[in-house]
Amino acid sequence: MAKPKVPGVFKGMGITLGIFARTVTKGANTVQYPREKETPPVRARGVIALHQDNCTSCMLCVRSCPDWCIYIEGHKQLAPPRRAGGKPRQVNHLDRFDIDYALCMYCGICVEVCPFDALFWSPEFEYSEPRIADLLHDKSKLSEWMETVPEAPELETGAQKK
């Protein structure tokens, strides 16, 4: 390069001073967490939300979870017929649907394998608990997460809808 060969030692010091000046003038790259919050991307896998009505307790997610951290209990019961005068339908009623976030490794296989689209990802990540036992989110807690589930982002140009 044309400029005289500045010995590496001083060039290094020049760079640190440059960053010093840039931070003083333009501000740092760090986010002061409790005050400013960085919004995670739409697809971030923060927490799993449960849409209760879709769930027919078919146990597919429980069986395909590598960490065995989903627990489901349900029972069959009769539901009012769809059309008047029809036979009462047999419906699986969900008694218990727990996900133990202490074990979960956020791999997303359950959300993907669910045939009835009952599980969704939401980028919420601030649900740490002082006691590890509280990480076992029950049915109602999981349904609370449903509001934080974002719309699916449109895809890049050239993507073909599956």
Binding site: V9, G12, M13, I15, T16, L17, I19, F20, R22, T23, V24, A28, N29, T30, Q32
Partner: protein
């Protein structure tokens, strides 16, 4: 010390000196830690540093001291208990002894030895003992390695520092720090006295060698083999925790402050501004308000020099200790000797 127009009994003077000494050591240490270690380092790494404690993290140091105070300071079971407990005090002791000789104003000084420089350099090497004791007494292999490396390095860099100050002493014709300050502020360069004659101009080699030696004495980054975090975990300080680690921490930054003060006295004209400006000619004719302004001027010069020390610390990797030794013995000492010789010859010639 009769400047307050009231006769202070002798015990009062020594009490004032003790409080002054504490302030002269701990205040610069606190300022350096906050300004450079917390804020400047983070700005150089594109982050903001501590912002939570106090406005802009100013009370972070208070928080840290509080944290270290209430932490339990362990003494390893196999350690040599008595000297393990004594080591940090020895290191801090050398800093207080050193600050005793630094002049802060025409009358604002702790002691006015005629052999101030000689005393200062002798006392500065006491900290080597403290570090060696800490390394040996911790009964930990990493500390032992750190301690031995520190011993080798600090002794190797005493010599260039002494020889660098030799050049200054020859030019100022006195070992009394007060005279060195006066010599710098009254002298003139080729007849123009407006800038005084700070020895940094004529002793530029001596200044560079002195700063490099100070960097090594403080075991800062290019020379931080003794506290090589990535190898020896934290060298001789590995086993220390709680209050003793706090003493080590304070000692490290207080020594940085005091060495920067000594460097500013020797090379930047210490507490004085060129006497030409206020048409003073000798030390006695300096006005009394200089006793208040002197420490402030000294503080700013110290901060400037510490900025350079810390700036080097945050942008360099680490020497290996044999490279470090060859750099001291084969390059710095011959250079310092040459510098002393040239100064002596020029002194005799002019």
């Amino acid at each position: 010390m009769s400047m307050l127009a009231v006769e202070i009994p002798y015990w009062g003077q020594s009490l004032l000196r003790v409080l002054g000494g504490l302030a002269a050591v701990l205040l610069p240490a606190g300022a350096i830690v906050y300004l450079f270690l917390f804020k400047m380092m983070s700005f150089m790494q594109s982050r903001l540093g501590p912002m939570e404690a106090g406005p802009f993290g100013s009370l972070q140091l208070v928080a840290e001291v509080g944290k270290w105070m209430q932490k339990e300071d362990l003494v390893p079971e196999a350690a040599d208990k008595r000297i393990f407990k004594m080591a940090p005090l020895v290191v801090l002791l050398s800093t207080f002894l050193l600050v005793a000789v630094v002049p802060f104003g025409p009358d604002a000084w702790f002691t006015n030895f005629s052999v101030g420089v000689f005393y200062g350099l002798a006392v500065a090497s006491v900290s080597v003992l403290g570090i060696l004791i800490a390394g040996w007494a911790s009964a930990n292999k990493y500390s032992l390695l750190g301690g031995l490396r520190a011993a080798g390095q600090l002794i190797a860099y005493e010599l260039p520092m002494v020889l660098a100050t030799l050049g200054v002493v020859i030019q100022a014709e006195s070992m009394n720090l007060q005279d060195i300050v006066v010599a710098q502020n009254t002298g003139e360069i080729f007849g123009f006295g407006g800038l005084g004659n700070p020895f940094i101009l004529t002793q530029i080699i001596g200044f560079l060698i002195f700063m490099i030696a100070v960097q090594a004495e403080l075991s800062q980054t290019p020379f931080d083999m003794p506290i090589a975090e990535s190898e020896l975990v934290s060298g001789y300080m590995t086993e220390y925790s709680g209050f003793r680690f706090l003493i080590f921490f304070i000692a490290e930054f207080a020594t940085a402050g005091v060495f920067a003060m000594i460097a500013s006295v020797l090379f930047l004209g210490g507490w004085g501004v060129p006497f030409e400006w206020f048409s003073w000619d000798t030390i006695d004719s300096v006005d009394d308000w200089m006793n208040v302004a002197g420490p402030l001027i000294m503080f700013t010069k110290m901060l400037a020099l510490t900025f350079i020390i810390m700036w080097v610390r945050f942008s360099f990797p680490r020497f290996r200790e044999d490279q470090l030794q060859t750099f001291a013995w084969k390059i710095l000492i011959p250079l310092a000797l040459a510098n002393t010789a040239i100064t002596a010859i020029l002194k005799v010639a002019f």
